[in-house]
């Protein structure tokens, strides 16, 4: 492999990984980067340098530390008021992030100083955590979900550091962290909308045309290109379902099947994909009946497209894979 090939290979790294690297270079944080990678870029500095959005957990650690310190002071004063019986002070704060930080600090402070205050403050914290969770679950506007996600990741960080100090005095402290995981999972869903028109490929007579279509489909129609380049005949044998089923029945795992197919049919009809690598071996020239191998999921699937493009039939041939 030469330098050019290597450069081209790396160009196909997953989209989210690339965007994430540029958007989170200053923070490098684990918590925020995963879910935010696909979010649109919103903040840019005039000089062309990457600026980090305020949503992306780019809050420097010193800021969090300062906020915690301020909240600690607040909590001490707050605790003093509570000791004098003023329950009206237990009103939820304006910003979810601020209130989370404050309440966590308050819990810490109370756990460390006055055992009598623990129960009261814990109640407040549970109510606010529920509110934030509900907000994260209304996944209708993406930005809202992302914002709360970022907020929650900050919260997690704060909670983790708090728990170290707490020495297990307050078991409720882990509940909001569970909510964080839930909301993060729901926001990383993407879909592909490119229509699949395999019949057109076989009608194309120039390599450039096929390559352009391959590019549109985020991949390459390797067999058709090989046919047009004269590397193989148009009538060269094609894979059969029985052949693949026999390989699996013989106990070959996904890698072995992949390797064997590559040896028998070095030019798959289609290879590509965005996020996953799909390899299609068409059973005929129509491309509506084919074997699909997905490298990342290690699945071998027989797919039949209906005449109008609907009513697809899927048959997972290797049951060990994850469909």
């Amino acid at each position: 492999m030469n330098v050019t090939e290597l450069s081209e290979l790396l160009n196909d790294l997953p989209d989210q990984m690339i965007v994430s690297a540029y958007r989170h270079s200053r923070t490098g944080g684990d918590a925020a980067s995963a879910g935010l990678a696909a979010a649109p870029v919103s903040a840019k500095s005039p000089g062309g340098q990457i600026a980090v959005s305020h949503r992306t957990a780019a809050v420097p650690r010193w800021t969090v530390a300062a906020a915690l310190a301020a909240c600690l002071l607040f909590a001490v004063g707050f605790g003093a008021v509570l000791l004098h019986g003023n329950d009206d002070m237990l009103i939820p704060q304006n910003s979810p992030v601020d209130s989370m930080l404050e309440e966590v600090t308050a819990v810490t402070a109370s756990a460390q100083t006055t055992p009598a205050l623990t129960k009261t403050v814990t109640t407040q914290r549970t109510v606010q955590a529920d509110t934030t969770t509900a907000k994260a679950e209304t996944a209708q506007p993406v930005t809202a979900a992302v914002t709360s996600e970022a907020a929650l990741s900050i919260e997690t960080e704060a909670i983790e550091s708090t728990e170290e100090i707490q020495t297990g005095a307050l078991p409720e402290a882990s509940e909001p962290a569970a909510s964080v995981t839930e909301s993060e999972t729901t926001t990383i869903v993407t879909t592909t909308t490119i229509p699949r028109e395999p019949h057109k490929i076989m009608q194309m007579t120039s390599v450039e045309e096929v390559e352009r279509e391959g590019s549109r489909m985020v991949g390459e129609y390797a067999r058709r290109i090989a046919e047009l380049n004269g590397k193989i005949d148009e009538d060269a044998p094609r894979i059969t379902t029985e052949e693949v089923m026999q390989m699996i029945a013989d106990g070959m795992d996904f890698r072995a099947v992949l390797q064997r197919l590559h040896e028998l049919y070095p030019y798959p009809d289609y290879i590509g994909g965005s996020g996953v690598t799909n390899i299609e071996y068409w059973l005929d020239r129509s491309g509506t009946d084919f074997i699909l191998l997905t490298i990342e999921q290690e699945t071998v699937v027989h797919i039949v497209h209906g005449p109008d493009g609907t009513g697809n039939v899927f048959d997972i041939l290797n049951k060990g894979g994850t469909p």
């Binding site: 989210q16 690297a21 270079s25 490098g28 549109r216 985020v218 590559h262």
Partner: protein, 166 residues
């Protein structure tokens, strides 16, 4: 509008490769023109990444054509040289399938890394960002960046060998 939203990111990609603001700006304009002509037939899943990749390809072509500048010049070759020792030799031409497998393995490896290390790797070997720029952006010392990347490369080498790809 695309330029307003993603311009800074794309400009950074181009500048890291070409090394000059002016070249980066020209490259970005070329790339935007191509994107304008390609959309809507192209329906990228992630528009931002699509733009960045297009800009990167334009910048690399421009770089190869001799439009290299003072700062950043040679970063591409230097960065890839660091990595190329890990990969199959140039005599061995990879098939598309092998190439995809290799890419999938590299992706899996990168996904297993902590975000900061992964981002460092991508910025250096995808975006050809210089050590000094990486150090500034990641809040590290230049030497530290080099050592970290060296460790990642060693781990990647071990991983690819374990996977039977080397």
């Amino acid at each position: 509008m695309i330029s307003e939203q993603y311009g800074a990111l794309c400009r950074t990609v181009a500048r890291d490769i070409l090394g000059s603001e002016q070249d980066a700006e020209e490259c970005l304009n070329d790339a935007l023109l191509q994107i304008w002509n390609a959309i809507p037939p192209a329906q990228p899943e992630n528009l931002c990444a699509y733009l960045m990749k297009t800009v990167r390809n334009h910048a690399l072509n421009r770089y190869k054509s001799g439009h290299r500048a003072k700062r950043g010049g040679g970063q591409q070759a230097a960065a890839l040289e660091e990595l190329s020792e890990l990969l199959p030799s140039s005599e061995n031409v990879l098939s598309e399938l092998e190439r995809r497998e290799l890419l999938a393995a590299i992706t899996r490896f990168l996904q297993s890394l902590p975000a900061k290390k992964r981002n460092l790797f991508v910025r250096r070997y995808w975006g050809f960002t210089s050590f000094s720029d990486l150090a500034a952006e990641f809040g590290m010392r230049e030497n530290n960046v080099q050592v970290t990347l060296s460790h990642i490369r060693k781990k990647l080498l071990a991983y690819l060998r374990k996977e039977g790809l080397l």
